[in-house]
C-alpha cells in the first residue's frame, strides 16, 4: 500500500464520516478515528523517508487539474491535524452528546470531520485555486463548529467576528494567489525561487495567513472565538487551525523568493505577538480566553523562530538559523499538543461547573483530580519549564538566538532584542499559568457550582491522557524526534538537509529524564518523611486570622494587577472604583475590565467612520423620485466629464 493510497483512503473515510455524522454517532467515531489514523500513517510515512507523494488528477475541478503534494513540511503539520482530530473526536462523544445537545450534536460531528478533512486538503493542495477552495471550506467548517451553540448571542457574535476576520484574510489570499497566477501564468504551486519578481508577494501572504495565525495586530477574532466555541473545537482551533496560517507562511517562505525585510518583519511581528500576547494572557480572568491569548503568545514564539530561520537562510544558510527553525517547527507540535490538552481540560471544568470565570472557581482538585493533574501538567509544559516538551522547543529557539548573538552576526540588532523579549515572555507565561491553575484548581471553592463539581468520564479523560503522553514522549526523548524533524527542515531549505542534530538534543533529553526521575524521588521522599514525622491537617494559618472565608482568597484580577499595571500602555485596563466612605462604609466596589484593545481602540473607530459613510448614503435615498432623477442626471454628467476630461 503506497502513501498515495493511504491518503486517498483517509480522504474517502473522512468524507464517509462527514456523511454519517448527523445520524450515526458510533459509525462516525469509528470512521473519524480510522481516517485520522490513515492521515497519521501517511504523514509519518512522508516524514520517515524523504518520500514525496505527488499526484495529478486526470479530471479538472474548477478548470484546473487537481494536484496533491504531500512533502515533509505538509506532513509535519498533517501529523498534528491527525492526532488532535482523533483525540477531539473521542472527547466529543462525552462532551457534546446527543442527549445533552439534541439540536447541535449531529451537526457538530459532521462539521468536525469536515474540518479535519479540509485541513488535510489544505496541507496537500499544490494548486492555488484548489488551495483557496480547501482554505475557505476549512474556514467555513470552523465557523459552523464555533457557532454550534448558536442560540447564545455571544457565540453568534464571536462566530461572526471570526468569519469576518477570516474572510478578510481569505481576500488577502485571493490577491496573493491571483497575483501569483497572473505573474507565473499558472495556478500551479511549487518552488519558485527563480522568479525574483515574486518577492513582494510575501507581504500579501503575510497578511492573509497572519490573520488566520492570529499574529498580534491581526488576532482580534481569536480570543472571543476560542473562548465561546465548544471546548473540543477551541482545542482544534487553537492547537491546529491557527497552525494552518503558520503552514502558509512556512510553505511560501520556503517556495517563494523573499524580500529583504521578510526575516526582520517576521521576527518583529513574532516578538510583539509573544510579549503582548503573554501580557494579555496574564490579564484575562476567563479561563478559555486566557488560553486563547496564550495561543497568540506561542504563535509569537514560533514566529521568532521562523524569523531567525529566515534571517539565517538569507545570511548564507547559517547553523543558528537552522537551530531556530528546528525549534519553531518542534514548537508547532508541542504547542499543538499541550494547548489542545489544556483546552480539553478547561472543557471538562466548564462541563463540571458551567462557568469559565476563574473568580467563580477554585479548589476543584479535590472533586476532579484527573483534570487538575492534567491541567497542571499542561501548565508546566506550556510555561516551557523543564523537564517537559515546551522547554525543548523554546530551548532550540533560544539556542538559535544565542548562537547568532555569540557569533556577532550582522543581524544581531534584531536578534538580541528578540532574545530578551523571549525571556520576558517566558516569565509572563509562567505567571499566567501559575495563576490559571491555582485559581481554578487550588485553594477553596469560590462558588457553589465549583463546590459541587464532578470529574469527567473516561471518554474525556482518555484523549487528554493521550495528548499528555505525547508531550512526555517529546519531552524525554527529543533526539528520537530529530529524524522526523530534519525532513521538513530539509524540505524548507535544502541547504539544511544535514543529518546531525543541530544541538545536543541527546544530552538535553537525558538531563530531562534524570530531572524527572529526581523530582519524583524528591517529592516522594519528602512526602514519606512528612508522613513519618506525623502529618496534621489544620486551617490555613492566615497570619492568625481564625475565620477565613473563600472571598478572602486572591482572585485572578488581584494576582495579575501588578504586572497588568506595567503593561497598562498596551492593555488599557478600564477600572470603576467606589472607595469605602464614612466611619461605617455601606458599600465599596472595584470593577476592572481588560478590553480587546486592538478591536475596541483601533478597529472600532475605523468601522464607525465606514458606518457613518453608509448612513450618509442611506439619507440620500429617501424615496423622493425627483432626487432619483437628479442622481441619474448627475451620473450622466459625471460619465460625460470622465469621457471628456478622463483622457488627460
Amino acid at each position: 500500500m503506497t502513501m498515495g493510497q493511504l491518503m486517498a483512503l483517509a480522504i474517502l473515510v473522512l468524507v464517509a464520516a462527514t456523511l454519517s455524522g448527523p445520524r450515526l454517532p458510533r459509525v462516525w467515531l469509528a470512521l473519524t478515528l480510522a481516517g485520522t489514523a490513515a492521515l497519521l500513517g501517511a504523514a509519518l510515512w512522508a516524514l520517515g523517508g524523504s518520500a514525496v507523494w505527488d499526484w495529478r488528477s486526470g479530471f479538472a475541478v474548477g478548470g484546473e487539474r487537481l494536484h496533491f503534494r504531500l512533502d515533509a513540511v505538509s506532513a509535519w503539520f498533517l501529523t498534528l491535524v491527525a492526532i488532535v482530530g482523533g483525540a477531539g473526536a473521542v472527547y466529543t462523544r462525552e462532551y457534546w452528546p446527543d442527549h445533552e445537545r439534541p439540536e447541535s450534536a449531529g451537526r457538530g460531528r459532521a462539521w468536525w470531520s469536515a474540518l479535519v478533512l479540509c485541513m488535510g486538503l489544505v496541507l496537500q493542495c499544490a494548486n492555488g485555486l484548489h488551495f483557496l477552495m480547501a482554505w475557505e471550506a476549512f474556514a467555513l467548517s470552523a465557523f459552523f463548529l464555533i457557532t454550534l451553540e448558536r442560540d447564545r448571542r455571544e457565540t453568534r457574535a464571536a462566530g461572526w467576528l471570526y468569519l469576518a476576520a477570516s474572510h478578510a484574510g481569505t481576500l488577502g489570499l485571493f490577491a496573493f494567489f491571483s497575483l501569483l497566477a497572473a505573474r507565473t501564468g499558472s495556478w500551479d504551486l511549487g518552488p519558485m525561487k527563480d522568479h525574483p519578481e515574486l518577492a513582494p508577494l510575501f507581504w500579501v501572504a503575510l497578511f492573509g495567513f497572519g490573520v488566520k495565525a492570529g499574529l498580534f495586530p491581526l488576532h482580534i477574532w481569536l480570543p472571543s472565538a476560542h473562548a465561546n466555541a465548544p471546548s473540543q473545537v477551541s482545542a482544534i482551533m487553537s492547537g491546529v487551525a491557527i497552525k494552518m496560517g503558520l503552514y502558509g507562511l512556512v510553505r511560501f517562505s520556503g517556495w517563494l523568493p523573499l524580500p529583504a525585510g521578510a526575516g526582520w518583519a517576521v521576527l518583529a511581528l513574532g516578538a510583539v505577538s509573544a510579549v503582548l500576547g503573554a501580557a494579555f494572557t496574564l490579564a484575562q480572568s476567563d479561563l478559555k480566553r486566557l488560553l486563547a491569548y496564550c495561543s497568540v503568545e506561542n504563535m509569537g514564539v514560533i514566529l521568532i523562530g521562523l524569523g531567525v530561520g529566515l534571517l539565517g537562510a538569507a545570511n548564507g544558510d547559517t547553523t543558528w538559523g537552522r537551530v531556530a527553525m528546528a525549534g519553531a517547527l518542534l514548537h508547532v507540535w508541542n504547542h499543538g499538543l499541550f494547548k489542545s490538552l489544556l483546552f480539553l481540560a478547561a472543557g471538562s471544568v466548564l462541563h463540571a461547573t458551567g462557568t469559565r470565570e476563574m473568580s467563580r472557581l477554585g479548589g476543584l482538585w479535590r472533586a476532579m483530580p484527573w483534570t487538575a493533574g492534567l491541567f497542571g501538567f499542561g501548565a508546566v509544559a506550556i510555561s516551557a519549564l523543564p523537564p517537559l516538551n515546551g522547554f525543548v522547543s523554546e530551548w532550540l529557539v533560544y539556542l538559535g538566538l544565542f548562537d547568532a548573538a555569540a557569533g556577532h552576526v550582522p543581524v544581531a540588532v534584531a536578534i538580541v532584542p528578540a532574545a530578551i523579549a523571549l525571556g520576558v515572555t517566558g516569565a509572563l507565561a509562567l505567571a499566567a499559568f501559575v495563576k490559571a491553575a491555582a485559581m481554578v484548581f487550588l485553594g477553596a471553592a469560590r462558588t457553589q457550582n465549583a463546590a459541587h463539581a464532578h470529574e469527567c468520564g473516561w471518554w474525556m479523560r482518555a484523549p487528554m491522557l493521550t495528548l499528555a503522553a505525547a508531550c512526555v514522549g517529546l519531552a524525554l526523548a527529543p533526539v528520537v524526534v530529530w529524524p522526523f524533524l530534519r525532513q521538513p527542515l530539509g524540505a524548507w531549505n535544502p541547504a539544511w538537509r544535514g543529518g546531525e542534530p543541530p544541538a545536543p538534543l541527546a544530552a538535553l533529553g537525558a538531563l530531562q529524564a534524570a530531572l524527572a526521575a529526581l523530582v519524583a524521588a524528591a517529592a516522594g521522599a519528602l512526602w514519606l518523611r512528612a508522613r513519618a514525622n506525623g502529618l496534621r491537617r489544620a486551617l490555613t494559618w492566615d497570619c492568625g486570622y481564625a475565620a477565613p472565608t473563600t472571598r478572602m482568597q486572591y482572585t485572578s484580577g488581584s494576582f495579575a494587577a501588578l504586572a497588568v499595571g506595567w503593561f497598562a500602555w498596551a492593555l488599557r485596563p478600564e477600572r470603576w472604583l467606589r472607595w469605602p466612605r464614612g466611619p461605617f462604609p455601606s458599600r465599596a466596589d472595584h470593577v476592572e475590565r481588560i478590553p480587546e484593545t486592538v478591536l475596541e481602540r483601533a478597529i472600532g473607530p475605523v468601522s464607525e467612520v465606514v458606518m457613518a459613510a453608509s448612513a450618509w448614503m442611506r439619507r440620500r435615498q429617501q424615496g423622493r423620485l425627483p432626487d432619483y432623477i437628479f442622481y441619474l442626471v448627475a451620473g450622466l454628467a459625471a460619465v460625460g466629464a470622465l469621457v471628456v476630461f478622463g483622457g488627460m
Partner: protein, 213 residues
C-alpha cells in the same frame, strides 16, 4: 421648407420655456399636448412626397400625444381632485433661467458638433437637446406625479425631435416600433398614475415615499 421646420422647432422650444414657467397643472398638460401635436406634424413638413406609412405615423403621434394621453392625465387629475397648483421643488423663476441657459447651451453645442450639410441650418439638434433638458428639469423640479409625466412627455418629444434627423435613413419599421414603444410607455405610465391615485389619495410624489432606506 427648412424655415417652416425651424419655425415649428422654435415654437416647441418656446413651449419648453412656457412649460417651465407655468404654475398650473392643467396648463402644463395643455402645453405638453400642444408640443406633441407640433412634433407630430413635423415629419409631414420634412418629407417631400407623402407616404401612407408616414401619414399613419403622424396621425398616431398627434392623436396619442395630443389627445389620448392628455385626456388620461386630465381624468386622473380630476378624479384625484388635487389642487391644480404644482408646487415646485425648483422655483419657477430659477427653472425658467435654467431652461433658458440650457437652451442657449444646446444651441452652442449644436453649433460645435459636426453635422451633415443638410442639417447645418436646422435647429433640430438644438431643439432636441433643449427639450430633453427641459424635460429633465421638470422631472427634477416638480413634485406632482402628473407634472412629472408631463416632464417625461417633453423629454420624449426632445428625443423624437432628434430622431427626425435620421428619418431618411432609418427604416420606418424601426421608427414605427420606437414610436409605438414610447406611446405605450407613456400610456402605461398614465394607467399607473390612475391606479396610484386610487391607492393613495394624492398624486404628490412627496407622499409616495413609503419605500425608503
Amino acid at each position: 421648407m427648412n424655415d417652416l421646420l425651424n419655425l415649428l422647432i422654435g415654437l416647441a422650444m418656446g413651449l419648453n420655456l412656457v412649460a417651465l414657467g407655468t404654475s398650473r397643472l392643467p396648463s402644463l398638460i395643455r402645453i405638453a399636448a400642444l408640443q406633441g401635436m407640433v412634433l407630430g406634424i413635423m415629419p409631414l413638413v420634412m418629407e417631400h412626397e407623402l407616404r401612407v406609412m408616414l401619414l399613419a405615423v403622424a396621425v398616431a403621434t398627434v392623436s396619442m400625444k395630443g389627445l389620448v394621453i392628455p385626456a388620461l392625465l386630465r381624468r386622473a387629475m380630476r378624479t384625484a381632485n388635487i389642487d391644480r397648483d404644482l408646487d415646485p421643488l425648483i422655483g419657477f423663476l430659477p427653472s425658467l433661467l435654467l431652461g433658458a441657459a440650457g437652451m442657449i447651451g444646446a444651441v452652442v453645442l449644436a453649433r460645435r458638433l459636426p453635422l451633415r450639410p443638410e442639417h447645418h441650418e436646422s435647429l433640430l439638434v438644438a431643439g432636441a437637446l433643449a427639450s430633453v433638458l427641459a424635460g429633465l428639469l421638470l422631472l427634477i423640479g416638480r413634485s406632482k406625479a402628473i407634472s412629472q409625466v408631463c416632464g417625461y412627455l417633453i423629454l420624449e418629444n426632445g428625443i423624437y425631435l432628434f430622431g427626425l434627423l435620421l428619418i431618411h435613413s432609418t427604416p420606418l419599421l424601426v421608427e414605427g416600433g420606437i414610436l409605438l414603444d414610447l406611446t405605450v410607455a407613456v400610456f402605461v405610465i398614465g394607467i399607473i398614475v390612475d391606479r396610484i391615485q386610487r391607492a393613495f389619495d394624492s398624486l404628490d410624489t412627496r407622499k409616495l415615499t413609503v419605500l425608503r432606506e
